[in-house]
């Protein structure tokens, strides 16, 4: 009796699965989502419209999908990984083609009830495919150049496509998320050291060549990089968003101004207040206490995912869960760093809180996979 056959028999079946859900994770997800609804209600000036109602509908839909995904055994999803990846890359190509044949640059496909962003979808399907790849690959071969090149190509294809949209935030998420799965799977650290070293070297060369006869970029490109890295040099343009968002954050103080009392968002000083910058409203209205609480909730979600990933003996389940955890971490870390002025503004939503259907659905599907791994873990 093989290990897998053994585990199949010992996993719960039917409605029993409900009892084996990771309920702590469910509670955390619902809690954070509710914080999101609350904030969307606040930034709309105390109204369900225009953001809370659709977000709530998508959450209900997404939660149902989560349960469905959770109840389907994780090995089914492993077998679906290649297909899922293929479909999402095709969709990425589709929006690319639609943009180029004159429907205007767009990042989404209209499904009627929501606009699906293939780039959001790719964040999960890439992790799934890489996990399946390393599950299939003999761990001893994982550091061989050819077997390193394959996942690199698998990562770079969707990264390139999202970069063309242009969606820098998603591209970074795909790149770092994918690389993290490779790292977790045990690819030799020298590859990472080489890539990081080369990257640092290139950036250093670019910066140090500035002003010298052999400078690598044009002057205007340097200026663009300057404003990207330090938006405060352009206070009414690119810097406006980040200045206003820091004002909002900072003015929250210890306990905040109180629910619906944030002046920065209600008076429209904040940009993108319902999407990428929603954290600033939370921080303004609930202060340091509110902000650190959200950070804590995210950390707990992360922790439960990591525990699930480490407890399972199934390599696919383990890698996919940990990959999802890393992706989830990248979401909120980049978003928070961005609105707090620690990182350039690249357009990454705050997971489960920012308004946006695709990200919400994709995250819930991802947590469905985590739950599936949890339910169907070998015992």
């Amino acid at each position: 009796m093989s290990f897998l056959e053994y585990t199949q028999k010992s996993t719960p079946s039917g409605l029993h699965k409900v009892l084996y859900l990771n309920w702590a994770l469910i509670v955390l997800i619902v809690t954070v989502s509710c914080i999101g609804f609350l904030m969307l209600y606040s930034v709309a000036g105390g109204s369900m419209r225009p953001w809370v109602t659709p977000q709530l509908q998508r959450f209900v839909l997404g939660f149902a999908v989560l349960l469905v995904v959770a109840f389907i055994p994780i090995w089914f999803w492993r077998n679906m990984s290649g297909l899922a990846y293929g479909v999402s890359v095709l969709l990425l190509l589709l929006v690319e083609v639609m943009g180029s044949i004159g429907m205007g640059a767009q990042r989404w496909i209209d499904l009627g009830f929501m606009r699906l962003q293939p780039s959001e979808l790719t964040k999960i399907t890439l992790v799934m495919l890489l996990a399946a790849y390393y599950d299939w690959l003999d761990p001893r071969k994982s550091s061989r150049p050819l077997f390193v090149l394959i996942p690199v190509v698998l990562i770079l294809v969707p990264t390139y496509l999202t970069l063309r949209q242009p969606d820098l935030g998603t591209a970074i998420l795909l790149l770092v998320g994918g690389a993290s799965v490779m790292f977790l799977a045990g690819v030799h650290w020298a590859y990472f050291a080489a890539v990081i070293g080369a990257g640092v070297g290139l950036v250093t060369a670019v910066f140090y060549s500035r002003g010298t006869p052999w400078q690598l970029l044009e002057d205007y490109q340097y200026r663009r990089i300057d404003t990207f890295l330090d938006p405060t040099t352009d206070p009414l343009g690119a810097g406006y968003n980040i200045t206003q968002s820091q004002i909002a954050l900072g003015s929250g103080g210890w306990t905040g101004r109180g629910f619906m009392q944030g002046t920065q968002s209600s008076l429209n000083f904040l940009p993108e207040k319902h999407t990428d910058f929603i954290f600033t409203t939370l921080a303004e209205e609930f202060g340091f206490v509110g902000a650190i609480t959200l950070l804590g909730l995210y950390a707990l979600i992360l922790l439960f995912c990591v525990i699930t990933g480490l407890k399972t003996k199934d390599r696919y389940a383990s890698l996919v869960t940990l990959g999802i955890a890393v992706t989830f971490f990248l979401y909120f870390a980049i978003n928070m760093a961005m609105v707090m002025g620690l990182a350039p503004v690249v357009g990454v939503p705050l997971p489960l809180v920012s308004y946006g259907g695709s990200a919400m659905l994709v995250l819930l599907v991802a947590f469905g996979l985590v739950q599936s791994a949890h339910i169907h873990r070998p015992r």
């Binding site: 206003q244 909002a248 103080g253 340091f288 003996k313």
Partner: protein, 648 residues
């Protein structure tokens, strides 16, 4: 693919180790995030709180309502009306042209105004509101307010704007207000923050300018919450503006209107004073202009019409115009002679039509001569020879000193623009200004109010008041400021012998009431209201010998601007003086024929407080007077006018 248990556990252990490294990195990142939160939200919270307040709170100045100006009976002379206007802040509009285009569909904007507003917006400092359109109708104003969301940067506002309901009657008294110009800011040294309010108006001329500090009031402030688009969301608190002080003038709007109307068509001025108090109850300057034109920003065409008019409507003739006073000056010589005991009023001086001084002849206005004249006849018939003779005894120094006691050649403090001092020449003055010594001929010219002597109608009215009372009457134009009396005391007794004053007054009475008086025709027959006056006809040219040889042209044959000025000064009633008047008609011709009837009509109007009855005039003139009265274009006042009695 099958794998051994060991392989599976090995790879799982490796995943575990790598997870630990990743987890550590995540933890470190999380710690950085938390630290940053603490830094922003705890350590720098107060800085950011302040910035947030600055973001959302705007302090706005509230414009004070300008003090109102009333006439002596409480009729509004300068008021404030609501002005609906639309202002725009360029920075708050995404596309200025698009917004203006949309606005032009709601309100009537001509292309010129739109272009001007656009230029102003581009040249002004950022975030300074610029008026796009004002004096909108209520319908236009409300349609802009309703459509405000589609007009970013546009704010409909209600402001106050000055209005002068009596139009041109008070143009030279109240003056007018206008926008705060850069020149004003630099030259006045005025740093009142209220001046930064868009479209704030400051006094630019006459009383509006001179009483600016009383009328202006103090700015209030309000703190408002604004959104990112600069639109006001709500008012947080308000410190209301203090309105300016109301000013009550001494002028009677009814009499003022009568005087303006009476002089219509002439280039003339008249000043009416209450002799006891010095209060100016009318001060007319004809032609005048509509001060409302200046408040709204006068068009170039209108302005050119005003400046090119030979009758100079923009000049305030009663205080700015100076004229040779002609024979109205003779009282000064007479009083100087009497006070010095150099002439006995009964002494007779023979007038043969001229006197000879060296090789020059000085003519009397009456070529055939007056014959033997005493002082009374000399005044009544305005004999020049009598005064040539007298002035040689008295000398210019004594004449000049007496004139100054009567306010000629002196500055009089009134809240008006460019009040002139006139000119009383002395030996020193001539040496300093003309580089020549004083000669007797200069004295002879001066004594009949010619030559260098210049006086404004205001000064002549003051002189007449002082003659009528023997006191140093000072003119005033403001009765109360904010209800507090602005009354000035007179300067006390002139220190003249009452008997001498009486002799001169009798002479002035004779001018109007003795059958041979120069203005006998212009007497008053109103019960208890005899007029005592003095005519003056002053030349504006000197008659050359060549001209005299070919025959002097009659005044009517000369071009208008070379004709004689017609002057008349008078007070009434002669036995108990209440009003003094001076009338100057530029190039009007004869003083007794042109200025005297105007002076009489104004005095009678002041006396009766309404259109004087025909019974106040000599019987044979009543038909002509009736015709004149019918032609007057008078304003009707809503508030019933009190009759001429002055309340003190």
């Amino acid at each position: 693919m099958k794998r051994s248990q060991k392989e599976i556990e090995d790879s799982a252990r490796k995943v575990g180790r790598r997870s630990l490294i990743m987890g550590g990195a995540m933890l470190a990142t999380g710690a950085v995030l938390a630290a940053r939160m603490r830094y922003l939200q705890v350590e720098r919270a107060s800085d950011f709180r302040l910035l947030a307040e600055e973001n959302r709170i705007n302090i706005q100045l509230l414009s004070p309502a300008r003090g109102l100006i009333y006439d002596r009976y409480g009729r509004l002379v300068a008021a404030n009306e609501q002005n609906y206007r639309v202002v725009m802040v360029r920075e708050n509009a995404d596309d200025v042209d698009e917004v203006l285009e949309r606005l032009s569909r709601l309100v009537n904007l001509d292309m010129g105004a739109m272009a001007r507003a656009r230029d102003e917006m581009m040249s002004r400092a950022p975030f300074v509101p610029v008026t796009i359109a004002d004096r909108l109708s209520w319908e236009e104003f409300s349609s802009v307010a309703v459509n405000a969301p589609s007009l970013p940067g546009i704010t409909p506002e209600v402001g106050l704007s000055r209005v002068y309901p009596l139009g041109q009657d008070f143009a030279h008294i109240t003056g007018y207000v206008g926008p705060v110009s850069d020149y004003y800011l630099q030259s006045s040294g005025d740093t009142d923050p209220v001046l930064q309010i868009p479209d704030f108006q400051v006094g630019r001329y006459a009383a509006e300018a001179q009483l600016e500090q009383d009328l202006r009031g103090e700015a209030g402030t309000r703190r408002v919450e604004v959104n990112a688009a600069g639109r006001i969301m709500r008012e947080l608190d308000r410190d209301p503006a203090t309105p300016g002080d109301d000013v009550q003038l001494t002028v009677d709007a009814g009499l003022q209107n009568f005087a303006q109307a009476r002089m219509a068509g002439e280039s003339a001025s008249a000043v009416v004073m209450e002799v006891e108090t010095g209060e100016i109850i009318a001060m007319a300057s004809s032609p005048s202009f509509d001060p409302n034109l200046f408040v709204r920003g006068i068009s170039v065409a209108d302005y050119n019409t005003l400046t090119e008019d030979p009758y100079r409507p923009l000049a305030s003739k009663p205080v700015q115009g100076t004229y040779p006073p002609g024979s109205t000056f003779k009282m000064m010589t007479a009083l100087a002679g009497l006070e010095m005991g150099l002439i006995d009023p009964e002494e007779l001086i023979n007038c043969i039509g001229y006197i000879e001084l060296g090789t020059r002849r000085f003519h009397c206005w009456k070529r055939s001569g007056h014959g033997r004249m005493d002082m009374n006849n000399g005044l009544a018939q305005s004999c020049d020879v009598y005064y040539y003779e007298l002035s040689q005894r008295v000398g210019i120094d004594a004449i000049a000193a007496m004139s100054r006691r009567f306010g000629l050649g002196e500055h009089h403090e009134l809240p008006l623009s460019a009040v002139s001092e006139g000119l009383i020449p002395t030996r020193d003055w001539k040496r300093a200004n003309r580089g020549a010594d004083w000669v007797v001929g200069d004295t002879l010219n001066a004594t009949i109010g010619q030559g260098f002597v210049l006086a404004s109608p205001l000064q002549l009215a003051i002189m007449t008041s002082r003659l009528a009372t023997g006191r140093m009457i000072r003119p005033s134009l403001v009765r109360t400021v904010n209800g507090v009396s602005a009354r000035m005391d007179d300067g006390g007794d002139l220190g003249l012998d009452p008997a001498n004053l009486e002799i001169v007054r009798r002479g002035m009475w004779s001018v109007n009431n003795a059958p041979r008086g120069t203005a006998y025709r212009m007497r008053s027959e109103a019960e208890g209201f005899e007029i005592a006056g003095k005519s003056g006809t002053s030349q504006v040219r000197s008659i050359t010998m060549a001209e005299r040889a070919t025959g002097v042209l009659g005044d009517d044959e000369l071009p208008w601007n070379r004709r004689d000025h017609a002057l008349f000064v008078a007070y009434a009633p002669a036995d108990n003086p209440r009003y003094a008047v001076s009338v100057v008609v530029e190039h009007g011709g004869s003083g007794s024929g042109v200025a005297a009837p105007i002076a009489r009509d104004i005095l009678l109007r002041a006396h009766f407080g309404e259109m004087p009855p025909l019974s106040a005039y000599p019987v044979n003139q009543r038909r002509g007077i009736e015709e004149m009265q019918d032609q007057l274009d008078l304003r009707s006042f809503e508030t019933p006018e009190e009759t001429g009695r002055v309340q003190t």
